[in-house]
């Protein structure tokens, strides 16, 4: 086949990488390029330099080193039995591409993943070489996120952690059964073993940093993972419990959910219709409830219906509140923070401001309205100085009144 130039390779390999949802560039330690010979800085807060029409932000240059692969995972467009065009970057090409984009402020850094060629160790070596060249040859101080390969040698994975800000391994599917069916060559136990090893290395790196200031940093932004939603039969409850387990056992920074989307050259065992994108959104909202609002996984699952699926028309926090109405209304002038965080419509920042303000005045409904986006949603669940919901909280049709207006269905929808 004819030799591909850089632009053609980029088109093929970025297209192959778009199913990875991760694009964060935050959570690492602060660095800048003052006094160095290279460019790049990280400021703690991630920056999204562009947004694509699918709503996802473009923060990093997200590419695969190659989309050839020896594995045959059914959900993956790059699987061995697929007929997609293949391409491959050299390490130097990735480095030059990253630097030229970064100089123009197009990206915050690099996200590098790869199909597996020759052997997991060989592929991991190539990935590490890209990061090493950026850090050592070019003194690049921006963000680097590396995908690690569970089957690769632990020493290679450790090297990746030395150069990268964040590392990640995908668990791919929420259940062992789904993994066996759709990715038969992948081993759930080996994936989890690799994540456990990464957690130990991160802990050790942080400990060394505490004792010796000059110790090298090890993946200061931690590790993350990703699950595919809707390719197998796992319910939302299964996914939430799985995510909670992963957070607890491996000290993950993030779990990403990627709704299964139709791919060209689809494999026969995939579902014939894709899950609604709203389902992915509800899972992210549940993730937030567990990480920032103090919900336990069992409580989030309690908001689901009998089949374990979260409602698509209302968010899980509202669903939980409607199900456990006996705990409401909450007095905003007296309630503890943990209870205020459970009021639908009150975010973390709003709760912080309520707690600060009520030292100086008894809050009225008008005051609450100024602190939140939508007072209509939370009125049934709070008591204020001049407001009581009376019978509103007990209405049978409360959910109907609070959920978004139903849209007219499209006459010519496909």
């Amino acid at each position: 086949m004819p030799r591909l130039d850089t632009r053609e390779k980029l088109a093929i390999l970025a297209d192959a990488a778009k199913y990875d949802a991760s694009c964060a560039s935050s959570g690492t330690k602060k660095r800048d390029s003052a006094g160095g010979k290279g460019i790049g800085s990280t400021e703690g807060m991630g920056i999204c330099h562009a947004y694509a029409p699918d709503g996802r932000c473009i923060s990093l240059l997200k590419i695969l080193l190659t989309n050839s692969c020896i594995f045959d995972c059914h959900y993956c467009i790059n699987r061995k039995s697929s007929n997609v065009r293949r391409a491959r970057f050299t390490a130097e090409e990735v480095v030059q591409l990253t630097l030229s984009f970064y100089r123009r402020n197009y990206i915050e850094g690099l996200f590098l993943s790869s199909g597996i060629i020759r052997s997991p160790n060989y592929t991991m070596e190539q990935i590490v070489e890209v990061a090493r060249s950026l850090r050592e040859d070019h003194d690049f101080r921006g963000y680097i996120h590396l995908k690690t390969i569970p089957d690769a040698d632990p020493e290679l994975v450790h090297k990746a952690g030395l150069y990268a800000d964040r590392v990640s391994i995908n668990v791919e599917l929420p259940t062992e059964q789904g993994l066996k069916r759709l990715a038969p060559e992948k081993d759930g136990a080996r994936i989890e073993g690799a994540m456990k090893g990464m957690k130990a290395a991160i802990d050790q790196g942080a400990d060394e940093k505490k004792r010796f200031r000059s110790a090298p940093g090890f993946a200061p932004a931690g590790q993350s993972t990703q699950m595919i939603v809707g390719a197998d039969g796992a319910s939302d409850g299964d996914i939430i419990k799985r995510a909670s387990t992963l957070y607890d056992r491996f000290a993950l920074r993030r779990v990403y959910y990627s709704a299964f989307s139709p791919i060209p050259d689809a494999s026969a065992v995939l579902p014939l219709r894709r899950p609604p994108l709203m389902r992915e959104h509800r899972l992210y909202q549940s993730d937030w409830l567990m990480r920032f609002y103090g919900f336990k996984p069992g409580e989030v699952v309690a908001a689901a219906d009998d089949t374990g699926m979260l409602p698509l028309d209302i968010d899980p926090k509202l669903a939980w509140a409607l199900k456990f109405r006996e705990r409401f209304p909450v007095d905003v002038n007296r309630a503890p923070r943990e209870m205020l965080l459970r009021v639908p419509g009150l975010g973390v920042k709003a709760v912080d401001r309520i707690i600060a303000s009520r030292r100086w005045r008894r809050l009225r409904l008008g005051d609450i309205a100024r602190l939140t986006v939508s007072v209509a949603k939370l009125r049934p669940f709070i008591v204020a100085a001049d407001w009581r919901p009376t019978a509103l909280i007990d209405r049978v049709d409360l959910q109907q009144r609070l959920k978004p207006a139903t849209e007219q269905l499209e006459l010519f929808a496909a």
Partner: protein, 480 residues
Amino acid sequence: MRTAFLAHQEDFEGWRDAARSLALSRVPPSEIHWQVGDAPHDLFADEAVLASDDGPAFSVPRPFIELARSVVCHSDPERFALLYTLLLRLRAHPGAMEDAADPLLQRLESMAKAVCRDIHKMRAFLRFREVEGADEAGGTRYVAWFEPEHHIVRANAGFFVRRFASMRWSILTPELSLHWDGETLKEGPGATRADAPSGDQVEEVWKTYYASIFNPARVKVGAMLKEMPKKYWKNMPETALVGQLIAGAQAREAEMVERSRAKMAEGGLAEAVAAEKRLQPGGNALAAWEALVAEARSCTRCDLYKCGTQTVFGEGPLDARLLFVGEQPGDQEDLAGRPFVGPAGGVFDKALADAGVDRAATYVTNAVKHFKFERRGKRRIHSKPDGPEITACRWWLEQELALIRPPITVALGATAARSLFGKAVTISATRGKPHALEAGETWVTVHPSFLLRVRDNREEEYARFVEDLHAIGERAKALA
């Protein structure tokens, strides 16, 4: 009327000095005019702010200083007066900064938030372009043009210096320009867009990346516009592609569907396609069904798998126009691994024959796919499945329905009806007429095992069962 002079639009130090003097003199906000720059244009302004020694010095909390430093960068001319009003209030009530519900404080905080957002968007959406030989030394320089909403360029200078310290760059805006030579930051006068370079050779590569990273199966234009407002688009090269990407998204998804059909039509003739459809309906339906059967064998969704011999999956042609759902496999079905082969299956086959329905053209399955029983001596006596067990197995039934998409689905018995309807229903109330469900048209009748158990009116019940099946068969033909 007093006039306070400020050196430039975001002169925080000047504002602080003037505000301190004015506050010590207890001048009310309505009597102060805040003048940016040199030329006074208020004819009624008289005395300038003079140094004052009235009263003792006072301190303000640190959050106020941070808030003021941000708000001073806002583009609203009223910002100075509002900050001064809050400063006077702080002298009277030192805790005013913590009263987040206060309308004045909230307005100032929203102004600070707008400034912070503008700073962030400038860091994100500013685009450098490379200019060769622009310097005296003949080196490369990177030039960017940006149009901020607020007076934030000076506040953002530090960020770009830290990030691109070893790069020579310039940032041009309508208000002022910044130039960095690797060691020193210089400030220059405002510029126009024509002063910036018009293109860059890497932009085409960047556009290629932008087009490729977009997933056409999940268009969310609203989310994009919310985070990347259109006012920034003219200075970002990749936004030229947005229109065609959105228009192309539906086409690409339709193309994926069409390509699957084209594979079937590669034989060439419509008859070949029809023949292929008869042999393997639904394209990959047979492979998908086989995968479902294999996976169902290891199903552990409820506890019934612990007792039964095996999973008893559905059976029949995948282009069936009739799909019958029974309750669960019986003793013989559990051993054989096939549905409707026990005594009830015999009654079912006979009734279908009497009703004129071809059993071989129908698909038969069960709502619950494991045998639930209680042991009495050596015999295994049927036990009715519980709600959670029906719900757990419903996923498999939904997969079968999605795969086969029969025009008519028939629930045999209350358990099957519960699985299809999602709630408990009575047979007498739902029997004999079609119901529109998500899976399509659905009918309800008794399970053939009921005919084995009934004692008195067996012949009448059997005749009624046959009549139901006949009506359903006629309906299936009508829908063909």
